[in-house]
Symmetry: C2
Subunit: 152 residues, 2 copies
DNA sequence: TTTTTGCATGGGAATCGTTCTAGTTTACAC
DNA sequence: GTGTAAACTAGAACGATTCCCATGCAAAAA
């Protein structure tokens, strides 16, 4: 299905900025990007899109369920395309690498906890912060956020 | 043990702002507060402490392990006193109420996931967002953040 | 097709939470 | 008590995000 159809389904007009932004986020190498990352990617493509529009569109995408917003440590939001399957994150604070995982047992226990509290869960997030294998083994994490991960 | 001793142990001078802020966070009703909440509490007590000092002190307390910083949805940081026992959080997005829980099974699974990735975990956070029992049962959540929770 | 209507956009200003800077004050070892 | 490094205050600065508004554009109505 085309991006254009995805947008219409979400009740959003298929405008150029929205199509471009969706396209960027769908690239496999995109993974986790800040609004700024997306903005820079647009500029690199030669598109004249305002930063305000990027923020507006990302928020709309989030409401429409097309992307997931994460509030990793550090204050700024990072976005990733929503491929449907929920997963949690492991973030290397040294190199910014982000790993994803899904553990049915954890999901189930969370569901039980919420149930016991009589709580209706809209969303949940689980992040682990630390240092990745590369760091331990070779000390080669750059200590600077990897471009495109939105983590520094 | 006095707050003053706690601070010295953490390698921090026992200054008036630090003692007052620690005192505020230790009150049972404090639970989860933003820097702004703490600042307002100080003003209410008639203390002349700058907002910048509140931020600086909270960050120092975090480094010293005296408080835990959380990045709940919404961008701003909330702080809670560290009583030693790790726990996770359930946040009602309607009334701002925060519930705490600890699930050994979840902790164990997380440990395993990190191990499998060869990842060294410094910290982890698990938040569930939704609506609490009060909301469902009586619709009495105020739709506005409860003062002192730092959540809105 | 032309007109109307209303959402979308871009750019800059505004806002929010947070951190930095400069100059002054304070805690605490001696 | 005194000296010195650390901590303080107020306000400016900062980065991320949102707001504002004049302009643009595309679907609906005429």
């Amino acid at each position: 299905m085309s991006d254009s159809t995805d947008l219409k389904k979400a009740g959003l007009k298929a405008t150029l900025p929205r199509l471009k932004i969706l396209g960027i986020l769908e690239e496999p190498r995109a993974r986790h990007m800040t609004a700024e990352d997306v903005y820079k990617a647009l500029l690199d493509m030669g598109e004249e899109v305002g930063l305000a529009t990027v923020y507006r569109v990302l928020t709309q995408f989030e409401s429409a369920g097309l992307v997931i917003r994460h509030n990793f440590e550090g204050g700024r939001s990072v976005f990733e395309i929503n491929h449907g399957g929920h997963h949690d994150h492991v973030v290397c604070v040294e190199c910014g690498e982000v790993f994803e995982f899904y553990d049915p047992a954890i999901e189930e226990r969370q569901r039980r906890v919420a149930e016991a509290l009589g709580f209706h869960v809209d969303s949940h997030s689980l992040y682990m912060y630390g240092t990745c294998l590369g760091m331990k083994r070779e000390g080669r994490c750059s200590k600077k956020g990897i471009p495109g991960t939105g983590v520094s």
